[in-house]
């Protein structure tokens, strides 16, 4: 079967356009859909020859056997088989596709998700919204006890792992607003005590209101 796939691949390189235009049988279209995308990305004949040379090597390696089987099992023309072999070879030759095929602009998004996942393992961050009255416990350097911050969330700035919330409270007669990065390892616990109904996303108007609106026991 490996040799059959190899020969099919060789004949496939002669007509690169037929490769792309041919459609495989419906049951296997899902399996090959992703392969098709990769194929179309490098559509030049030169590229496919490069791949086919590798397809011979990889077909002999025996790994694409599992993927080539459903393809070769179909009673289609040999072009269908060739596609399968070349596509599989392409999948083989490239290192895990999520590393290479990711667009440059997506890297930050992926890194952010990884950081957030790691932070979530240590502590769960509840759903925070402006208008929530929260109690936050934070670890300070060289201090054993956690310091406590209470207040109302007046703003939530979403920026992946550096999502920050701005918490306002009247302390000793003076209004204080502190911005906390929510996924910081220093913040040990955030609990929502109450919720105040607000009709805004950012409650900066509280600064100019009476102090009693920002006072929380």
């Amino acid at each position: 079967m490996a040799s059959a796939a190899a020969t099919a691949a060789v004949s496939g390189v002669v007509l690169p356009h037929s490769l792309l235009s041919h459609r495989s049988s419906p049951p296997h279209i899902v399996a090959l859909a992703s392969s098709f995308r990769r194929l179309s990305l490098c559509a030049s004949p030169r590229r496919t020859t490069h791949l086919v040379a590798r397809a011979d090597a990889s077909a002999e390696a025996g790994e694409p056997e599992a993927e080539a089987e459903p393809v070769s099992a179909s009673a289609d023309a040999e072009a269908g088989e060739a596609e399968g072999a070349v596509a599989v070879a392409e999948a083989e030759e490239q290192p895990p596709p999520s590393k290479l095929k990711v667009k440059f602009g997506e890297i930050i998004g992926i890194l952010n998700k990884q950081f957030i996942e790691e932070a979530e393992k240590v502590k769960t961050v509840p759903d925070l919204r402006p208008g929530d009255i929260i109690e936050l416990r934070m670890q300070r350097p060289n201090k054993r006890r956690l310091s406590l911050f209470k207040g109302i969330i007046i703003a939530k700035h979403k920026a992946g792992v550096h999502t920050t919330i701005r918490v306002r409270r009247i302390i000793a007669g003076v209004g204080v607003e502190i911005t906390f990065p929510v996924y910081s390892p220093r913040i040990k616990e955030i609990t929502v005590i109450r919720h105040k109904k607000v009709r805004r996303a950012k409650l900066y108007y509280l600064k100019h209101k009476l102090p009693r609106f920002s006072t929380f026991k």
């Binding site: 000793a172 003076v174 204080v176």
Partner: protein, 154 residues
């Protein structure tokens, strides 16, 4: 309001965020607070006798003083019987600033007003009590006496 006071003196001590279409909030509530510079009015929060001080010079900082810095100021308003009187040139430590001060853990703190505590040129406090909250930043600047007298450390 602090913002109106600044406009009176014509100082550019707070810049207004460029809001092309101010929808719900007016431009003043979107102000980005900046440094404490010449002609900034500051509240005095100790019992040295002064009530308001106008900054003459920020001792450190290219653009002005931030939280924890020392400034030179002129007393504009003072209580009748106090250790300082109107017109005195005094040094002060900024204990509350309306401008955000970043901390090493990624948090930022800002207060609702600008306030100072009067010190002499050696750094010793003139007053004996401090009112209101003070930030941690004073510990790094070695103003431990102020932290010890404070009502609340943020």
């Amino acid at each position: 309001m602090g913002s109106h006071g600044n406009n009176l003196f014509g100082a550019v001590s707070s810049s207004v965020e460029a809001v092309t279409r101010p929808f719900h909030c007016d431009a003043i509530s979107q102000q980005i607070r900046t440094f404490i510079q010449m002609r900034t009015n500051l509240k005095v929060v100790d019992n040295s006798g002064a009530k308001r001080v106008m900054c003459i010079q920020a001792k450190s900082g290219k653009y002005g003083a931030k939280l924890g810095d020392t400034i030179v100021g002129s007393v504009k308003e003072a209580q009748p019987r106090g250790k300082v009187k109107k017109g005195d040139v005094v040094y002060g430590v900024v204990v509350r600033a309306a401008m955000k001060k970043g901390r090493s853990d990624g948090s930022e703190v800002q207060f609702d007003d600008n306030a100072i505590v009067l010190v002499n040129n050696k750094g010793e406090l003139i007053g004996t009590r401090v009112f209101g909250p003070v930030p941690h930043e004073l510990r790094k600047k070695k103003h431990l006496k102020i932290l010890a007298l404070a009502e609340h450390i943020v």
